[in-house]
Amino acid sequence: MRAIWQSFLDFFTSLKLTVWLLVLSMVLVFLATIDQRELGVFGIQQKWFYTFIVVHFIKGFPMPVFLGGYTIGALLFVNLTAAFICRFKLTWKKSGIWLTHAGLILLLIGGFLSGLMQEDYQMRIREGETKNYSESFHLYELAILDTTPAGHDNVTAIPDSILSRARASAPLDLGDVAGLPFRVTVRAYYQNAVLVRPGSDPRFASLPTATAGIGQRALAVPVAPTWRQNESNWPAVYVEISDPKNSARPPETWLLSSQLGEPQTFDYDGRRWRMELRPARRYTDFSLTLLKVTHDLYAGSNIPKNYASLVLLRAPGDPDGREVRIHMNAPLRHGGLAFYQYQMRAEAGESVLQVVSNPGWLIPYIACTLMTLGLLLQFTISLCNFARRTKP
């Protein structure tokens, strides 16, 4: 038993394993980089890094082709930690190596945490407009709004992670959603879909159809999701609104899609309701008003010199607010979020800010400082030894 344990330990602390894992991680990064041509930077992260096994579709068939980033990362982490505990000795001569690897362990933890916790949003805002929310790049939500009260809406939002559980064969009954007087059933959810005329192609005859609203004149056909740089997904959802207590009212199926342009509205129990499928929102307790965008070019050229958005930041305790200039390399950090200048259409007076929430942002700084110090220390010690040896 002891021998087995020993050989187990030897395997996981061995340098040979380290070398092979490093080679594998190099190949992983290389292949993922090549794949960016097809999938774009977001797609390859999901396919190659934030996964245990890389699945590649060869002629439509899913084939496991490589170990994913999580697997290699976890093995490296185990290998490193095991070696760190069992083999590393904290002596002056090896202090640099110790420090470097301690930093690397922290970096791997930090990378994993930020993979889990970092959230990216965008805020698309025009001059004069005020917003207190930002929108997800990739995630959507089904929003059902009670617009009856004057001055505000009561919003119920259902994220796409729940919507995507619906299958055409097995509609997803959301049951009694809190605050809604009717029953909501998701008949189908497509991550990416195109709209066609109903009845235009017999192949689509089995797909769900809408019985109310503008969706009666369109049919959503699912297509493969894309993550390419200049393409986006256009999700669509079929939602059935019904009332089991009121058999006089037949169930109605609505089509919602970000391609339809405007939200769908209906009346129920004397109240006015609105439904839309929109990018998932994150609300904040403060608001930004875009005062002015500037986009300068260098004289006599098309090279952008600067992009900047002048915003008014109004926080709860500060109704007058303060002016902040967000520009390249100078983000606004407030309330756990950082706002970066992302894109701009200066001629339309529109600016897009990237909004990032990453509670673990400090970890890579600490880890990298440790590692750089460690490398410097180790190589300085080696260099001193070398200089001592070569001296005649």
Partner: protein, 573 residues
């Protein structure tokens, strides 16, 4: 002893310095016209102030990949002389063969045969004139395709059409074309001119195109006119009339006026013109070839004399490269590395710096040999990268940050330099091992120590550079790491260094294995440096062409062959 260690190297050094000094002499005008004075006039273009000399050279490089140009009689012209003809006497310049066309389909489109061209590939505007509509149509079609879907012909026709348009615009850039200066011409000049040649009235103000100045004068009914715009019109008139005395007088008066109002810019323009003429990087690349030859021959004959000569000349070439980089920094006002071109200069500089240290420490000509190879190759790459135009361009908004340019970009470039040096040492080792009997146990151990030390440097710089890049990205885009191709390239270098070092510490590879791995480091570094730019995705992708892809593939293949050679049994030890 004294002869070989002191006199021969010193004589070689003095000869090299004299040769360099000759290139720094001020230019003598080949004709009676003060073309040099015209070359030093400064304008604003691409966001910076530069002499017309740079405009002429960058335009010629872009058109034909070289600065040399001959007139219809076969006389060699100064670049500025060509610019004078192109702007003021387009009917004469139209016969100079300055447009490089190599793509066979493009030649067919223009109804040209390679034999009609200068050197089989350079053609005149007159030769292309009748096909311009066809070229325009094909360029329009190519432009409509997404850049990833364009083939070699598409890129060639787009480049040619762009060059022809830039050439035609020159005619409207400085003075009204020949004939009566009508109001229409001013509008054309204001629209098509590309050079902001008319100085602002007050320092720090906006510069204008000559056409805009003429239009403003006409609108204000200003009878005297703008002096600078009139000066260029006068230069055009006298150049067309070939009246040297008046031409030179206008140049003299114009210079006197500008020197009074813009002393700093004029001084910079003079320095830049001299810098262009001196062509420091060309001279140092020649010196690097000589360094390599001396170091290589020193193993066969006259070891002391040639080894010291190589070291002296490498030091000189390093100083010349340093001077060139410092001049560029002073002209551009940016840290040393700002684009691919200057990263090649940075790679040359840092690798040769390490080579000097190696040679001084080990004194076995291996450092000089590696320095000669890497210095020459990196400067050659820089030369090819300079063909895309002005290399002192302004920085895009997100990159315009001297602190990060000075830290992240420079550190990464040093990492590349160290990686390539380790790789070149590996190549030297493997070639010695496979083809000569010169690899004694001692030499072999020495090279291994060198490679180990250099890889440690490479690891340190690549890692620190990558981290600094991460911090920059976190500051400007909100993420420390985004799996962008260039970031991944840098990460792969760091991992490869770690693989090499761990394999050595674990005893998994011995000397030859370390060398083969160091050579593979060349492949990894070349991929990170250029390969990621070929993907045309991501935030770091900037300027690179398909001929670059072929060169990269050839380089990778050559390195794999060298790695294969490492498997051969030693010649004899």
């Amino acid at each position: 002893m004294k002869l070989s260690k002191v006199i021969v190297p010193l004589a070689a050094l003095i000869a090299a310095i004299l040769w360099l000094a000759a290139s720094l002499r001020p230019e003598k005008n080949a004709t009676t016209f003060d073309v040099a004075g015209f070359a030093r006039l400064h304008v604003k273009a691409d966001g910076r102030s530069k002499p017309l000399d740079t405009v002429a050279r960058a335009t010629l490089l872009r058109f034909q990949g070289r600065q040399a140009v001959r007139n219809a009689d076969g006389r060699k012209l100064e670049p500025a002389e060509w610019l004078l003809d192109a702007t003021f006497r387009p009917e004469a310049a139209a016969r100079y063969r300055v447009f490089e066309i190599t793509h066979p389909e493009l030649l067919a489109l223009a109804h040209l045969r390679a034999a009609d061209g200068d050197g089989g590939k350079r053609f005149s505007f007159a030769q292309l004139q009748n096909s311009i509509d066809a070229i325009h149509e094909k360029a329009r079609q190519a432009d409509a395709r997404p850049s990833a879907g364009r083939d070699g012909f598409d890129r060639a026709v787009l480049a040619l059409y762009g060059n022809l348009a830039a050439y035609r615009n020159l005619e409207y850039s400085l003075a009204p074309p020949a004939g009566a200066p009508a109001h229409d011409t001013f509008h054309m000049m204001a629209q098509f001119g590309t050079l902001l040649a008319i100085p602002s009235d007050a320092p720090g103000g906006e510069w204008r195109k000559p056409g805009e100045a003429f239009l403003a004068d006409a609108a204000a009914q200003n009878k005297t006119g703008n002096p600078a715009a009139l000066a260029y019109a006068g230069l055009a008139y006298t150049w067309r009339a070939q009246d040297a005395a008046s031409f030179n007088e206008i140049i003299r008066l114009f210079h006197a006026d500008l020197a009074k109002r813009f002393p700093a810019e004029m001084r910079k323009a003079s320095i830049e013109t001299a810098f262009n003429r001196a062509d420091l990087f060309y001279h140092s690349s020649i010196l690097f070839v000589i360094v390599f030859l001396c170091a290589a021959v020193s193993w066969l004959r006259w070891p002391d004399a040639l080894r010291w000569t190589a070291l002296h000349l490498m030091t000189l070439a390093w100083l010349v490269t340093t001077a060139g980089i410092l001049t560029r920094m002073c002209l551009g006002g940016y840290p040393p590395v700002t684009n691919l071109y200057s990263s090649a200069l940075g790679v040359a500089w840092f690798a040769v710096t390490l080579c000097l240290v190696l040679e001084i420490l080990f004194r076995n000509a291996i450092g000089s040999m590696a320095g000669g190879i890497i210095g020459f190759c990196a400067l050659l790459i820089a030369h090819y990268l300079s063909l895309s135009g002005d290399t002192l361009e302004m920085m895009q908004a997100v990159l315009d940050n001297n602190f990060w340019l000075a830290t992240h970009v420079v550190t990464i470039t040093f990492g590349y330099g160290a990686m390539f040096l380790a790789g070149i040492l590996g190549v030297i080792y493997i070639v010695l091992h496979a083809f000569t009997g010169a690899l004694t146990r001692e030499t072999s151990a020495t090279i291994t120590r060198m490679v180990y030390g250099i890889v440690c440097f490479a690891m340190l710089f690549s890692f620190a550079g990558t981290v600094l890049g991460g911090i920059w990205a976190d500051q400007s885009w909100g993420r420390f790491w985004g799996w962008d191709p260039k970031e991944n390239g840098a990460l792969i270098i760091v991992i490869w260094c770690a693989v090499l070092l761990h394999a050595r510490w674990g005893g998994l590879v011995r000397e030859r294995g370390i060398m083969a791995m160091a050579v593979f480091g060349n492949v990894v570094t070349a991929w990170s440096w250029f390969g990621t730019n070929l993907l045309e995705v991501g935030l770091h992708s900037y300027g690179f062409t398909s001929s670059g892809a072929i060169a990269l593939a050839a380089f990778v293949a050559s390195q794999l062959i060298v790695i294969g050679l490492a498997l051969l049994p030693p010649k004899n030890v």
